[in-house]
Point group: D2
Chain length 352, copies 4
């Protein structure tokens, strides 16, 4: 009996490690109302001992839990079947292997950047340190749900994609799969400030961010590791993604613009529409997508421009949602045999 | 058998008149996922004939309806039991009486300003025109849910409060009921731009609004009609609400600041906490509420400041939600015997 | 020969202590183009050694200075006649007295909160610590320029008002002077995020500030010390200012709303228009002022609402400008006999 | 005697046609304080008869003029030497030729899109109508100041560049001049909402714009006409600019990202730094420029990213300033022999 079959029609108990960060808080938002998940515990570091709804007042009435410290959890982790880990980069590699060895029956979803490719050299280059558990890298399934759907029911360890990575892969993976991705690709991606986490810093200081626009980590963002890594599993053509991340004066959302030189609009549109036909969480826009329409939602919105000479594809998603927490819940649903959108569609996003 | 009992445990069919405006769109957001409501039809004027999800792409996947014209509806209004009306001010008085006469079995909730007080002279003064159906004013129940809860199951015609009015009444009604409201009250209320509707105008022109702050209709806002009108039903003390509405550079939400001269913080806090004890949609903040925590939600958040000499109360709510659409759904739930929060709590608001 | 006469038609040399903070940076913006001031040096703590235009790139091309440490200045302070001090609260009391004793010929303008009232008990209560130089408090002239204009030419030590204080005093001082200020006054004041300084903190973290509105230090803001203190010099009537500061999602500007119970609109308007007749930096608005029109400028904009029963006054100014740096330059101009707007009007603010 | 020599050391009289639009208002902001320009008159359509400072209260105290109607001007245009025209696209072609014929001694600067290339077919394609004065196209000098500086003193008719065009040309013109521009170029450019003018519309409706990000006119923006047109005068290599304009939730500024495939960062940086060495209005940023640092200023800020394989260039400027009004003043200064920055640097922009 596969784990998925075992869980079907059943409820599961789940724990969250790192529930007070930006992604963790968004994860709780979905898990609190998930009809098939009982949230058993949530850890946090500095907020341990506080009620979740005191730290995250948006959840008042939705959960009675208090944050606990990871090292205070009972030995059996309170009988959970799933643990979702939303720690800062470079941290889950110190946490998940130990827990996973001790609890062979528990399945893990990591929302950080530690286990997204089987490439320790790439990790060193992009994340600036030797990976502490390189032998675990190969054991993780990359949780880019729409393309990895069949691998999730049997997966025990899942690494959920990064926010920029999800936006780029949604545009590029179908092209790679169709053999159309080759040579130099050029892309920009604008993110809201929630992508920087919940620790105040200069780049999220309101007086300096509120009316500003700038690029950062241009042509050297660490998500290229997973983007190029995953795309390489889909195509043998050589390609390179030249990506300029940018920060905009809004809170939630990513808007990516993708140029594949020489690929026409119709080719882009036909390929992507075919790839996502019937997908419940991917919708298409007549022209450009609007970021505001996916803020706070688990969806991606895709649009196109151009002509028969050159096209461009646009992908909009919420960096905390489809680019973070809700994509992890999508994977969780697949892993445990629930309908993939369970717990995600309880209330549409607003028009404004 | 009361209408409420009849409806209990049953589903109802409902129609929406004016579903493409700001409040109408928010109403659809809640009704699309309401587990006890089948949305039968939605009217719109200029968008008639278009799919709802083309006009409001946030609802893609949530409804297959298209907007229709009011005069195209079948004679029996397609068998609905409830009609919610979200037209601009001065319009529902021309629509509801006729429909209500023709369909004595249908119950109506008006979200506009036309039927909120039984005072045609006040209407003339504040809304600038003679009321077209003054004899209908007395027939409406004012749908300020927390204070009118017992009147709703038997009500056929409900006038849902205005956004500023709800924020002020949440702070002042308990004081009025306790005999503490007398003399001059001073209040400011800051609203986001969605309160101006979905027609572009100078005060919502992004270049002029995005970094601006200003007052408007100061000491002469039309919501004072319903605020003073409703409060007068709760107290015999003379009082006057001096209210300055203000517009801030955000989209959703109202933040009201209320001073009752001579009323201490503890009095304010004790009275309001007692009044709303156990209320599912009203929560309290340790200090000031944060508007962002109620954006996109059906909740109000109340806080306090001051000392034994003088206090202040703060009320934050979403002008489109608790100050508009979700309050109407709250009343609808009461009218038809559903749990009051049905369809409203499917997904918490975000922390950011 | 008075100092003012000595300086007339001449240029002065000036130094700035604390030029890398929010107010200090704005001060440099004005002093860099001041036709009668030679900026001799600017101190900063963590940025010492860096070029001003590297830390504040908006000033590239306007100054060639580098930041220096205060303790590196030459013994004669490089021959300056004026020192402007823009340190965080509680800091200038440790700096100015020592410098002023050593340099009796130099005149000082403090932009912090340390020397704004002659009341050490009030200082303890509002700023939370014993004043380190209480005997110096009486020696400072409060630099509320429009009302203290005559005292400035002879002043050696000037304490420039706080941002909220300036906005409230502009509305209230003429009333106090006319004997109309008595009893309880109620006011709110909304500030942009630049009022919190340039150190990132939770209340200026963009994800939490960008769409938010909240109150803080309500009914207990430290500026009430100087507001009530200065107003008391103008009236013998008893009064109390109940002030709720609020933070809005914009960067620059303050918008204050003032209710004096029982004072009619016409009284407010007549009194304030008369008080500021001919003032170059105070303009009036037909209805509410718009904050955006004073952003980045040295001006205040005043408006009114209400009727013969009750009025309200509105004051808009830039917290960094008229509520901070430009008011200090206004005082500097008066102290040294320059035209009061010298260096302030070189380019109007934008319409958007 | 050339016109430039004639004007040197002298003052000129100037008139503005279309002073109440976004660009016109910004033009007045600079001209009001220009030490060598006497502003004789300003026309406006719907605001004719109103004081300029009532329509644009930011200019109160800076001008006593009232708006007049174009057809009310005296026959001699009140003796002006220069007329600046800031009308919507497609309008100045109906105004300038007639005036220029009647007044051979007057020099004109057009800030609209009508006369920016000598290509009537391109005009038809990009602006959607037959040009009404095609024979005048060749008579205009394209006022891209840094590259056309030598042509301006003798020019009588100048067409000032568009906002996006300026940002792209600042990055691409030096490359074209150095023969490095060939093949496909990819670029995105994000503009603030002031680029849409001062008429409220759906894309500038605050509720829909304030947190949004989207592309528009992608790969088909009309500014490509002048960008490709001007670049073609600098290089014989074939090239094509694939440009995606985007709209961001801020008011002022453009941030453009430029990829020339195969051109390394060092090449970009060396070429652009050399091209703009000594330019007073172009500064360089160590990494990405920040849009906020050029808001309200006449400057452009340029930065770079990438490595020896592939680089990217970033250009930030104010769409109303260097991309609009201030660039026109720069050209005016050159035309009449004033120092090029006269009237532009009276007050630096703010750090926030």
């Amino acid at each position: 009996m596969t784990p998925a079959a075992a869980a079907q029609d059943a409820r599961i108990r789940a724990g969250v490690i790192g529930g007070s960060g930006s992604i963790g808080a968004e994860l709780l938002r979905y898990l609190c109302v998930h009809p098939s998940v009982d949230l058993a515990w949530v850890t946090a570091h500095s907020s341990a001992g506080s009620r979740v709804s005191d730290v995250l007042p948006n959840l008042a009435g939705y959960t009675e839990l208090s944050f606990v410290r990871l090292d205070e959890l009972p030995d059996d982790l309170d009988g959970v079947q799933a643990v979702l880990v939303a720690l800062p980069h470079n941290r889950s590699q110190e946490v998940i292997p130990a827990l996973a060895e001790r609890h062979p029956g528990i399945r893990f979803i990591d929302l950080g950047g530690d286990f997204r490719t089987p490439d320790p050299q790439g990790y060193l280059k992009h994340y600036g340190r030797e990976h502490a558990a390189p032998e675990w890298l190969e054991r993780f399934v990359y949780g880019f749900t729409e393309f990895q759907r069949e691998k999730l029911p049997g997966a025990r360890l899942v690494a959920s994609p990064g926010c920029f990575a999800t936006s780029l892969l949604l545009g590029l993976a179908p092209l790679a799969g169709a053999g159309m991705l080759r040579g130099e690709v050029f892309a920009t991606g604008v993110t809201g400030s929630s992508g920087s986490g919940n620790e105040p810093k200069k780049t999220t200081h309101h007086p300096e961010r509120a009316t500003n626009f700038r690029a950062y980590k241009a042509l050297e963002h660490q998500h290229m590791l997973e983007v190029e890594g995953f795309l390489s599993t889909l195509t043998r053509e050589p390609f390179h993604v030249n990506f300029v991340p940018q920060s905009g004066p809004f809170v939630r959302g990513i808007f990516s613009t993708i140029f594949v030189p020489g690929v026409a609009r119709a080719t882009l549109e036909d390929t992507l529409r075919a790839a996502y036909d019937g997908e419940p969480l991917i919708t298409f826009s007549r022209a450009s997508p609007d970021v505001r329409l996916i803020q706070g939602t688990p969806r991606a919105l895709i649009g196109f421009a151009g002509d028969s000479r050159q096209g461009a594809a646009f992908v909009a998603l919420d960096n905390l949602g489809k680019g973070g927490a809700s994509q992890a819940v999508q994977s969780l649903n697949r892993m445990f045999g629930f309908d993939e959108t369970t717990g995600l569609m309880g209330l549409p996003g607003g028009f404004v």
